[in-house]
Amino acid sequence: MIDRLLAETTARVARLVAGTHIASATALDDGRQRVYVANHTSHLDFVLLWACLPTRARRVTRPVAARDYWARGAVRRYVAERVFDAVLIDRRPAAGCPPAGPAAVERMLEALGDRRSLILFPEGTRGSADGMGAFRSGLYHLCAARPGLEVVPVHLANLNRILPRGEFLPVPMLSRVTFGLPIRLGAGESRDAFLERARRAVEELAS
């Protein structure tokens, strides 16, 4: 209850500080399962993307976050797991362990279930404002395992100026969240082609 309230409050405050202008090419409140993929430049990203979803979609949408970062320390862990109900996945395996990829995809599929949606930052880490990095393959494996899953490209603008990497206090600035038209993994589409197409779909929303 308190966790839910904290999440809603954080979302409201984030939208207020970031004076977010939302542009959406699609209706998102039809209860369909989706994966929202966005560029990643700030800790605010998942909070704001989540805050900008229609209420119905927000209730079922969980962010995917890196365990090595968000499980470190009691506060971060609480914020990630309890407040935002994040799906924590391993980015890189410790030396000598099997690769983390398949386990991470497994975790995401489990989290999706038959009614949840996910927020995913396929660059894998916070990049710079200038350009997006390549998408990691997790998104492809997720879509391959769940044919027909809708991938909604989302572009987040200016959030890196509101809360840049390494800062803990935000500065008010106007931001823009743009939802693009959903894409799906095509039949026989190769991994690299699909990942590049998804990346470009996000990038194109920037202008």
Binding site: G19, N158, R161, P164, E167, V171, P172, M173, L174
Partner: protein, 314 residues
């Protein structure tokens, strides 16, 4: 709530209410009569609807006495500064300086105004904040475009916070001719500058032929300028009775406010042109951002305040 027993305030509020009703009626009839209402008529309706909200908020703030007005203008400063900084060319190294500008300098300025500390609020930003922000930027260690970045943050603070804070500072004026009439002066300034803006817009749309500054704003014309300033001066002289001044003095103050308001609009249009945007934001439907609405007020307020202060001998 003494304003509620002030006949001048009530009379003027009634007149504004009448004016709003009339404007709303005209805009609605236009939308109804014109077979295919274009963008101008849709925008006119949106603008007038927003005026209702702005008038209501401003009236409520005035009625609360000082506190509400300082709070309202403080929030307007924050919104304006946010729009300005979004467009400014700031970099990674400016984050901490910006944090100070938003969360320390801006509130402090309005606290000093509320404390009626003229000696401090008139120099805090141009002297102390100017030096502090510049030093804070340099300490971040980012040297590329250093001068441009530091200058832009300081400019934003001057226009969005320092200049605008002179409007509610009118509430702090005391002098032989003033008996708690600060709220009336603030009302006079805001009405005259906004009246000038509205008539510039209306005269420009109706009669505008000759652009006054074609490279800066094609919408600003000599006809609009003349109509707006003339209307503001007549209006200011007509409501001299809300001020402690004679009709001639009120007309001169209105002229100063309208002229400063015009150049303020011109300067902020140049900023928008420079950054390649049409509006500063989307806060006020039909008008654009906060800074689009108060651009004239930021330039008019300090000059109007100083002239008034001189006239009342405070």
């Amino acid at each position: 709530m003494t304003l509620l027993r002030d006949p001048a305030f009530l009379g003027l509020s009634g007149a504004i209410l009448g004016f709003l009703v009339l404007a709303t009626a005209v805009a609605r009839v236009l939308r109804w009569r014109v077979r295919t209402p274009g963008e101008t008529i849709a925008n006119l309706n949106a603008r007038i609807d927003a005026w209702w909200v702005m008038c209501a908020v401003f009236t409520i703030a005035l009625l609360t006495g000082g506190a509400g007005s300082y709070l309202l203008f403080g929030l307007m400063s924050l919104l304006a500064l946010r729009e300005f900084v979004t467009l400014a060319d700031t970099g990674r190294g400016d984050h901490r300086a910006l944090f100070w500008a938003f969360f320390v300098v801006t509130p402090l300025q309005y606290v000093l105004v509320a404390l009626k500390a003229y000696g401090l609020f008139s120099i805090m930003i141009p002297v102390y904040a100017f030096l502090f922000i510049t030093v804070r930027v340099v300490l971040a260690g980012q040297t590329d475009r250093f001068l441009a970045r530091a200058a832009q943050i300081n400019w934003g603070l001057m226009v969005c916070v320092y200049c605008l804070s002179y409007a509610p500072a009118l509430l702090t004026l005391e002098g032989p001719g003033l008996h708690g009439q600060g709220a009336r002066l603030l009302l006079f300034l805001v009405l005259v500058t906004q009246f000038s803006d509205v008539f510039q817009y209306v005269c420009g749309k109706l009669f505008g032929r000759h652009p006054i500054a074609p490279t800066i704003s094609p919408n600003k014309t000599w006809e609009g300028f003349a109509g707006g300033v003339a209307a503001a001066v007549l209006f200011g002289a007509g409501i001299w009775w809300v001020t402690p001044f004679s009709p001639a003095q009120a007309a001169l103050l209105a002229l100063a406010a309208a002229l400063m308001g015009f150049v303020g609009g011109l300067v902020l249009s140049a900023v928008k042109r420079d950054r390649g945007v049409k509006d500063f934001g989307t806060t006020i439907a039909g008008h654009g951002g906060m800074l689009d609405r108060i651009d004239s007020l930021t330039f008019a307020a300090p000059v109007f305040f100083q002239l008034t202060r001189y006239l009342v001998g405070g």
